[in-house]
Amino acid sequence: MSVRVLLPNAFQKHTNNTREIASTAANLPELVTDMEGRFPALRQHLRGEDGQIRRFINFYVNEEDIRFLGNEKYSFQEGDEVLVIPSIAGGCC
């Protein structure tokens, strides 16, 4: 089982310009651990002082915010595309 993970430009400095990885992680916590294993430099940037993933980092699975799918409890499916977006932009008033 493998999912495709797309990384944002803001991560590139810490990922040696890698934009995309394939991961066998079963869920979000495993994926974060996988990312930190591959890119040790990313770890201190991904997590705040409390050790938690920073609030501004958003994960989407096939166009849906992972928080609507159960967040950490969601089990990745074969072929899922995971999109990481830091600090979602936009915003009107």
Binding site: P8, H45, N58, R67, I88, C92
Partner: protein
């Protein structure tokens, strides 16, 4: 050379100079423009402002543009009017409306932010600009980009109101309708901005764009005779505007243009998309995203980018946030139009209904000076009123027919009460002289 402003991370404080960037590469928090207020002290004075143009560029010393920039997109300086008739309906005795329903050129407060964003797009050398939008931003980007000769790609949710779609296409913009809600559109925009070298108004130009919102706050203070209100009621979508009005007030206090005083900030959302008001009610700045379902499409952002900051600002000010149903939104649009002659879009219905509730619940005292922000024009969202009014049968062009019509339709008409007339006359003083 003194640098008037720079980009700074809102999380870790890292400086980024002046470049098209919106995210910190260390902690991934959003970036914000920070001004050197000491440098601004000699340039941003009541006198320099009154000598400036009668539009938002009179505040340019606290807007992120180069000293050499020659403004080409006048926007802002909209009326601040006292609202005695609406006030009488909802129990307010000192209520003002900041009416950005008549902001030029596209009838929403977005004209302000886009003016600043596109000035920066030009400075950075972008020839193509884009945005994701719930409508008002699309209109503003399309119109002002046309004026500046920039190419535009504008992404909107496919279910957007027809008037907002037409008001984008008429300027020659390339409109990309996306099957999804604003949050889907927004996420796609972040990806596009990573891939294409465009000036994305609400992605890589976002820190600059957001500063344009401060002009709402600057104008309110100036129009009140250089003083701050007791309370401010503001609609919230991404949560940016309310935080920027607060920033504007803080800058005015820091530079000595107004006397320092506590201002309470109140946020308004539709119940069908209320992630920020929910956070305020739960006394937290943790925003739980929602799937929007409301007629107030311009506020329908389920994952608000500035939600945490908005919630924090509201609670720190001693304010509150409320949300109202779609039925209340439509009633409030009608009530505002019938009492004050202002036709607001659905977001204005949200703000008006929430303002009424804040008085009804005793959160705002009737005598406190309160400003309610109307951010967009009702002509853009007429579909929410479809079926609200009967189309009457025409009469023949005969006096007898008219008299019969009168007999049928004579109701108690609105009377010009002397009390209201006096208040309205005084409100004229609040326009910029």
């Amino acid at each position: 050379m003194t640098i008037a402003y720079e980009l700074r991370c809102r999380g870790c404080g890292k400086s980024y100079g002046i470049q098209p960037l919106s995210i910190c590469d260390e902690c991934f928090s959003p970036l914000e423009v920070a001004f050197d207020l000491e440098y601004a002290r000699t340039r941003f004075t009541r006198e320099s402002i009154s000598n400036g143009p009668l539009n938002m560029w009179r505040y340019r010393a606290l807007l992120p543009v180069a000293d050499s920039y020659a403004p080409q997109t006048p926007a802002g300086m909209t009326p601040l009017v006292k609202a005695p008739r609406l006030g009488a309906h909802i129990g307010a005795r000192n209520l003002y409306l900041k009416n950005d329903a008549v902001c030029m050129p596209t009838l929403s407060f977005k004209d302000r932010v886009v003016a600043v964003a596109l000035a920066n797009a030009q400075a950075f050398g972008f020839t193509t600009v884009g945005c994701s939008s719930t409508g008002n931003l699309a209109n503003a980007v399309a119109a002002q980009a046309a004026r500046l000769g920039l190419k535009t790609f504008i992404l909107v949710p496919s279910d957007l109101e027809p008037a907002k779609i037409l008001n984008t296409q008429v300027y020659g913009a390339t409109l990309v309708r996306v099957a999804g809600n604003y949050d889907h559109v927004n996420r796609l925009s972040s990806q596009i901005a990573d891939r294409y070298n465009w000036g994305f108004v609400n992605v890589n130009l976002r820190p600059y764009y957001a500063e344009g919102s401060k002009t709402v706050g600057f104008e309110i203070a100036e129009q009140l005779g250089w003083r701050l209100p007791d309370n401010l009621v503001c609609p919230m979508a991404g949560g940016s505007l309310i935080t920027k009005i607060r920033k504007a007030f803080s800058e005015l206090v820091a530079l000595g243009l107004v006397e320092d005083k506590p201002v309470r900030f109140f946020g308004a959302q539709a119940t069908g998309c209320s992630p920020i008001s929910t956070a305020v009610k739960n006394d937290t700045d943790v925003i739980e995203p929602q799937r929007p379902n409301t007629i107030a499409r311009s506020l329908a952002i389920g994952n608000p980018a500035d939600g945490a900051y908005a919630s924090r600002a509201i609670r720190a000010s001693g304010g509150w946030a409320e949300d109202v149903s779609d039925v209340e939104i439509v009633s409030a649009i009608q009530e505002l139009a019938e009492t004050e002659g202002i036709f607001a879009e659905t977001a204005g219905g949200v703000t008006t209904a929430v303002t009424a509730r804040l008085y009804a619940h005793g959160r705002i005292h009737p005598d406190e000076l309160t400003v309610s922000c109307i951010t967009g024009n009702g002509l853009k969202t007429t579909d929410c009123l479809s079926g609200a009014y009967e189309r009457s049968e025409p009469i023949r062009p005969r006096m007898a027919d008219f008299e019969a019509f009168m007999e049928e339709h004579t109701t108690e008409s609105a009377e010009a009460s002397p009390e209201f007339s006096q208040v309205l006359a005084l409100a004229g003083e609040s326009y910029v002289r």
